[in-house]
Symmetry: C2
Subunit: 388 residues, 2 copies
C-alpha cells in the first residue's frame, strides 16, 4: 500500500472527502491560521520524534529548551524560570491552576480552595476548576472588558488559591490590568496565573510597532506563570502550547518523575506523556530562522487589517461596532436582525464568524486577505439590505 502512486491516490481521495470543510479564505472566527510551508514539511519529516522520551531525543529536547528560552525572554522571565511546551493553551491553563492549588494548599493548608477567574476567562478555566475540585469565583468586568479590580479585590478570601488575569481575552482581545492584579497577589500572597495564550505572541511586539504595550508579564514580580501559544498568530502547527513558570517553587508540587523511559531521571510537568516534537521543531525554525521580522510582520498585518475592517464596518449604517479593538478581535452587531440570523446568513455565503452573547466576533489573522475582506463586506451589505 505504500507505493508513491497509491499514496497520491489515497491523498487525493481524502482531500476530496473533506473538501467541504471551511476554507481559511472565509474563516474569520479562528485564532488558528494555516502554518507556513516549512512548518508543514517539519510536521511530516520529524513525525517519529516523541518529546515525552527525552533520553531518546536529547537534541530535539535542546531545541525545546531554546524555544522556551525565547518565549521566556519575550515574557521577561527572571533567572530561575522553568517551562514546558504543552498540547495547547487549555493544558497550560490547567497546569497553571494545578500549580496554584498545590502551592497554596502546601503553604496555607487550605482544604477546599476557590479560584478567581475574570468573567472573560476561556472555557479551559472552567474545565480546570472542575477537574481540580476548585470552586470558581467569577470576577465581573469593567466597561473596557477588563476584569474589575475593585470588585475582584472584594472576592478574595482565605480560601482563595489563586488569581487569573487574561492578556488578550477570547471575546474582545482585552488585556486585564495585570499590574493591579500583581499588587493584589502581593498583598494577599496569592498565586497569579496569566493567560496570554492569544496575547503572548502579540503584546511583546507592540512597542516595536510604535504602539502602547501593557506590562502583562513577569516584570510584575508576583506573576507566577504565563500561558503562551505558538499555534495562534505565530502560525505554528497545532499543538503549540507552552507555559512558563517564574521558578521551580511553583512546579515542585506538580512535577512527576517517570522512571521507565530511556532517561530514568525524567521529570514531567505536562499532563501528556508521549507528545509530538514537530511543533517544537517548527517553532524553533520560525523563531530562530524567520525571527522577529516574521513575527512583527504578522502582528502588524493583523492589526492593520483590524483597523481596515473596523473602518469598513463603520461605513455600513446598519452595523454597530461593539468596542474599539484592543488587539485583533472585532465585535459588531446590527439593528436589522438578530446576531444569530446574521451569522447564519453569512455562513450560507461561506463566511465563518462566531456568535457571542452581545456581538458577532471576528478574529483578524494573517490568512485574511484584503480581497476576501472586501468580498465579505459586499456580502454583508447585501444581506443587511435584504434583511432591512
Amino acid at each position: 500500500m505504500e507505493s508513491i502512486k497509491d499514496i497520491e491516490k489515497i491523498l487525493q481521495e481524502i482531500s476530496k472527502t473533506i473538501e467541504d470543510d471551511a476554507s481559511y479564505e472565509q474563516i474569520m472566527s479562528s485564532m488558528c491560521t494555516p502554518p507556513p510551508k516549512i512548518a508543514r514539511e517539519i510536521a511530516g519529516l520529524f513525525a517519529e520524534k516523541n518529546l515525552g522520551d527525552p533520553g531518546l531525543f536529547p537534541q530535539t529536547i535542546r531545541l525545546e529548551k531554546e524555544v522556551l528560552e525565547t518565549l521566556a525572554s519575550f515574557l521577561h522571565a527572571p533567572k530561575g524560570w522553568i517551562g514546558t511546551t504543552t498540547s495547547g493553551g487549555s493544558e497550560s491553563n490547567l497546569l497553571g491552576c494545578w500549580a496554584a492549588r498545590n502551592w497554596s494548599q502546601k503553604k496555607k493548608e487550605i482544604e477546599k480552595g476557590k479560584i478567581i477567574f475574570p468573567m472573560s476567562a476561556h472555557v479551559s478555566f472552567e474545565k480546570a476548576a472542575d477537574i481540580l475540585g476548585l470552586q470558581i469565583v467569577w470576577a465581573p468586568l469593567n466597561d473596557n472588558y477588563q476584569v474589575n479590580i475593585e470588585k475582584l479585590n472584594e472576592l478574595i478570601n482565605p480560601d482563595t488559591v489563586g488569581l487569573v488575569g487574561i492578556a488578550g481575552t477570547t471575546g474582545t482581545g482585552a488585556c486585564d490590568n495585570i499590574q493591579a492584579l500583581n499588587d493584589l497577589a502581593e498583598d494577599h500572597e496569592l498565586y497569579l496565573h496569566v493567560d496570554a495564550a492569544h496575547g503572548g505572541m502579540i503584546l511583546p511586539f507592540l512597542d516595536k510597532l510604535g504602539l502602547e504595550s501593557p506590562i502583562f508579564d513577569f516584570r510584575n514580580s508576583n506573576v507566577s506563570s504565563i500561558t503562551i501559544d505558538t499555534h495562534k498568530i505565530f502560525g505554528n502547527i497545532i499543538p503549540g502550547g507552552s507555559i512558563i513558570f517564574r521558578s521551580k517553587e511553583f512546579t515542585n508540587t506538580i512535577k512527576k518523575k517517570v522512571e521507565y523511559l530511556a532517561d530514568s531521571n525524567t521529570e514531567q510537568l505536562t499532563i501528556t506523556g508521549t507528545r509530538p516534537a514537530t511543533p517544537v521543531i517548527a517553532a524553533w525554525v520560525l523563531l530562530k530562522k524567520f525571527g522577529e521580522d516574521y513575527i512583527l510582520s504578522r502582528v502588524k498585518y493583523s492589526l492593520d487589517m483590524t483597523s481596515y475592517i473596523v473602518q469598513r464596518l463603520q461605513e455600513i449604517p446598519e452595523i454597530i461596532v461593539s468596542f474599539e479593538p484592543p488587539l485583533n478581535i472585532i465585535g459588531f452587531t446590527t439593528n436589522v436582525m438578530t446576531n444569530q440570523e446574521l451569522v447564519e446568513q453569512l455562513q450560507q455565503k461561506g463566511w465563518q464568524l462566531s456568535l457571542y452573547a452581545h456581538w458577532i466576533r471576528i478574529v483578524v489573522m494573517p490568512h485574511m486577505t484584503k480581497k476576501a475582506i472586501n468580498h465579505f463586506i459586499l456580502d454583508l451589505r447585501t444581506i443587511l439590505k435584504e434583511g432591512a
Copy 2:
C-alpha cells in the same frame, strides 16, 4: 524566507542539528514507532485543520466519528457509546478518572474520594489522581504481574470512586483480569476504567492470529471507559489518543459547552480546546484504506520478533528472562553486572533500553528488524563477556 531553496536549506540544517538523537534502528524501549509515509504526508497536508472547532471542519469531524466507530467496534462498545480522540493515553486516563470521580460523587455524595490503581498503572494515573484530588489506593500484583483481585477487593470501601484495570501494562504487557474486576465493579456499583493504551490495538487481534485473547473490553458489562492509543503499535502520528465511554451517563458530568466557536453548540469532552486533525485523518486512512491486514501484520510481526528475541536471550548463559511476555514486552536481567551498568553499556553502543526496578525492558515494535536484533544480541554478548 519561503522559497523552496530556502526551505530545503533550513530543513537540511535542522536535520543536521538533531542528527544525534537516537535512531529508531536502535530504539528498543519505546511504545512509539515511525509512522508510515502516508501518515507523514497527512501531517503536513492538513496541518491547518483544528478539531477543536468542529463547525469549521465538519467533514474532518465526520472522519473522527468513523475512526471512533472503528475503535469502539474493536472494543465491542454497546449502542449508545460516546468517545473522543485525545492528546494521548495520559489525557484519556485523566478523562476516565475525572468521569469516575464526578459520576461517583453525583451518585453517592462522596466528599473526598479514593481510587484504586494496580501497582502496574502508568504514571499518568498518578498525575490524574493528584490533579483530581483523589487519594490513590495501590493494589498489589500477583505472580503474573496482574492486579491481585482478592487483595484489591479488600481495598474497596465506601469512599472508592473507581477501579482501574490495565490491558497491557507498561512494564510487562500483562493484561489484568478485567472480568474479575468487572464482577467487583458490579458488586460495589463502581466505575471501572480500563487502560488499553498499549493493548487496545493488539488484544482484539490475537484471535485472528490463533492466539488466546482475554475479554478485556466492553463485553464486560461494568466497564465504563477504555483508553486506546493509535500512536503506539498501530503507527499513527503523535498525538493519537482516544477514549471510549460506555454511555453518556459517564460523560454528562465532565462535558463542557463551548459557545464561542463557529458551531455554538459544541460540547467538548477533552482537556484540550484546539487540537490537531492530522492524527485523526491519518488514523482514518490507516484503518479504512490499509485495514485489518495492516494491523494484523504489525501485531504478528511484533509478537514473532518478541519470541525470537526471547529465544536469543535465553541462549545467553549470563541472561535471565524475567517473565514470559504476555504481549510484545520483554524483561531481562543478568548475573554479571547491575541492570543499570548493562543499560549504560548498551547505550554506549547506541542501544536504547529502559530500566525497571527488577529488569531491563524491551518493547518490541514494528520498526525493529531481525538484522538489528542480531546486532544487538552480538553487542550484548560482547558486553557480558567483558563484564564477566
